[in-house]
């Protein structure tokens, strides 16, 4: 098995100490005065002062319901909200009208699945939506390494429409098994992750998009673990839909993004209905606003959108190439050092190639929950469990795993603290060979 050395990043080094100073929470202590070692950014990232300040300033100066009302605050709030959309769209290489704000990425994926579901019910569907109709004989393809959020909506869509769910399996080294390709002429949707939240695996998006396009299937990319950590250009990737969450990219919780190619958003039936998303309403029925408004029913989250705008400004100022290089260095070191410990096995690729900064592992003879308890006693926060990817864990024949995940504020010292903590857990449970 090949172990790749960590990539060196000369010329791209970050002043991590300076970055950490922007994150007040990182300087706190936990569990009787232990410095916090936060290695759970894959679950949720911490937020810099710039994001917190942007939210607070907005709320203290311009707060109002957006896209309704004609008073001064309503105008300012709407401008701030739409300016955030514009910057977020630019951040991922999308046009402004292709960015829909949702509660989180889970809601974004459900929005697509329910839109397709609505296009599949009975007659009288808007002719433009016919292209999304699914029924018996049609197939939806996903992968065995998906987060539950990119699996269950498709299971349910299939159940409701009579379509069949198929999936790519996983190879022993944690890659998608592209040789056993479930994509056929019957495939209507291919939903897959841009980076596994457990394995860190980055599948070959271009290749999967190529295969999906060849049969006329729509692609839905779960970009929750890629957009926060690397430069992503959705137009260049050529996917039809993509979803990501604010809180994993130094932004607030309560906001996520659905990206959809404009032509598709124009044809997709709405998911949630109500205020803001309409064009004309009569007692007998209504017509709907063009996207993105069509998919933003009700008064939307505003300070969260402004906060996410500040988060992409913050990340852009650092440069996503440098964010990626920094995390790559930490990931490479963590992989090497953890694999040096007897009894520790990595789930997923053992080197840093086509791989992001989530490092899941198991320790022989030490249950992940027990390991996490020992780590927590030293102030080290990791995720344990199945990380909302139960089928993936089943595919690897494990019940649960420990996951360390990084962001731009993590340091090499924290990687060393993790490795030392894992050794302590092994010693505590008498598993040091």
């Amino acid at each position: 098995m090949t172990v790749l050395a960590p990539t060196t990043t000369s010329g791209a080094t970050l002043d991590v100490a300076e970055i950490r100073a922007d994150f007040p929470i990182l300087s706190r202590t936990v569990r009787d005065g232990k410095p916090l070692v936060y290695l759970d950014s894959g679950a949720t990232s911490q937020r810099p002062r710039q994001v917190l300040d942007a939210e607070r300033t907005f709320l203290e100066t311009s707060n109002a319901a957006v896209h309704r009302g004609a008073h001064a605050l309503a105008e300012e709030a709407t401008d701030a909200y739409e300016s955030a959309r514009e910057r977020i769209a630019a951040f991922v290489g999308a046009d402004i009208a292709e960015v829909v704000f949702t509660k989180n990425a889970t809601e974004a994926i459900n929005l697509v699945a329910y839109g397709m579901s609505n296009a599949s019910i009975g007659d009288g569907v808007d002719p433009a939506a016919e292209r999304f109709r699914l029924g018996p004989g049609d197939e939806v393809v996903t992968t065995e390494m998906e987060h539950h959020a990119n699996l269950i909506p498709w299971q349910e869509l299939c159940r409701r429409t009579g379509a069949t769910l198929r999936w790519f399996g996983i190879t022993a080294d944690g890659r998608l098994d592209l040789d056993n390709d479930p994509i056929t002429e019957r495939t209507k949707v291919v939903a897959f992750t841009h980076q596994s939240n457990v394995l860190g695996t980055v599948p070959p998006v271009e290749e999967i998009v190529r295969r999906a396009r060849a049969v006329g299937a729509y692609t839905v990319l779960d970009a929750c673990q890629s957009v926060p950590h690397a430069p992503v250009d959705l137009h260049a990737l050529g996917v039809d839909f993509a979803a990501f969450s604010g809180h994993k990219m130094l932004g607030p919780s309560g906001i996520g993004v659905l990206y959809g190619r404009h032509e598709l958003l124009e044809a997709l039936p709405p998911f949630l209905l109500g205020g803001s998303m309409i064009e004309m309403v009569r007692m007998e029925g209504a017509t709907y606003a063009p996207p993105p408004a069509r998919f933003e029913a009700g008064v939307p989250m505003t300070s969260q959108a402004i906060g996410l705008g500040a988060a992409v400004d913050y990340l852009s100022a650092i440069g996503m190439d440098r964010v990626k290089a920094h995390e790559n260095e930490l990931t490479g070191a963590a992989l090497l050092k953890l694999q040096d410990l007897p009894g520790v096995s990595i789930l997923g690729p053992r080197g840093t190639e086509a791989r992001g900064g989530a490092v899941a592992f198991s320790i022989e003879g030490v249950h992940p929950h027990d390991a996490s308890q020992v780590l927590d006693d030293s102030g080290i926060a990791v995720r344990v469990g199945h990380h909302c990817a139960w089928p993936l864990h089943r595919a690897f024949g494990v019940q649960a795993s420990i996951r360390a995940s990084f962001h731009v504020y993590n340091t090499m010292e924290e990687v060393d603290a993790l490795v030392a903590g894992v050794r302590r857990a092994q010693e505590f449970f008498g598993m040091v060979p």
Binding site: H367, H369, Q373, G385, Q399
Partner: protein, 148 residues
């Protein structure tokens, strides 16, 4: 939290394995971590709370806390009436859910007092309760007609 008693039960669980006869078998899962336990109960004599717990047999996959807690449940509950077993269970549940504010009664809880430390870690309370609540469910099912 990891008292020696807990680690002993984890390494050498008491009463482990699924046995016959039994009137009910239940399978409980902790959805946050995937820990699983299958519990069988064998009851005899009496009705309701007067029935006697003849056996609690189990098969468990999980962390030290959930495994050890099920082992201790076997020790403390078997040989008692359902009424007594439920009293012990209630005291145990009150202790581990008590956020450290419930003083455990060592006369009732015996080895199970070792789990008092779990109360300080809310994320682990489910682990400590998994096998115990499976037992409660199995008794309810056995007395409602069983699921053999």
């Amino acid at each position: 939290m990891y008292q020696e008693i807990i680690l002993d039960h984890y390494r050498r669980p008491h009463g482990h394995g699924l046995r016959e006869p039994f009137e009910a078998e239940v399978h409980h899962v902790n959805p946050t971590c995937g820990d699983e336990v299958t519990v069988r109960v064998h009851l005899s004599g009496g009705e309701g709370l007067d029935a006697k717990v003849e056996d609690l047999s189990y098969d468990a996959l999980g962390c030290s806390i959930s495994q050890a807690a099920t082992s201790v449940a076997h020790d403390l509950l078997v040989g008692h009436t359902v009424g007594e077993a439920f009293e012990t269970l209630d005291a145990y549940q009150a202790m581990v859910q008590g956020r450290g504010k419930v003083e455990p009664d060592e006369d009732v809880l015996d080895d199970a007092v070792a789990f008092a430390g779990v109360a300080a870690y809310p994320a682990r309370v489910k682990c400590a309760l998994l096998g115990w609540l499976a037992f409660k469910d199995a008794v309810a099912q056995a007395q409602a007609g069983g699921t053999p």
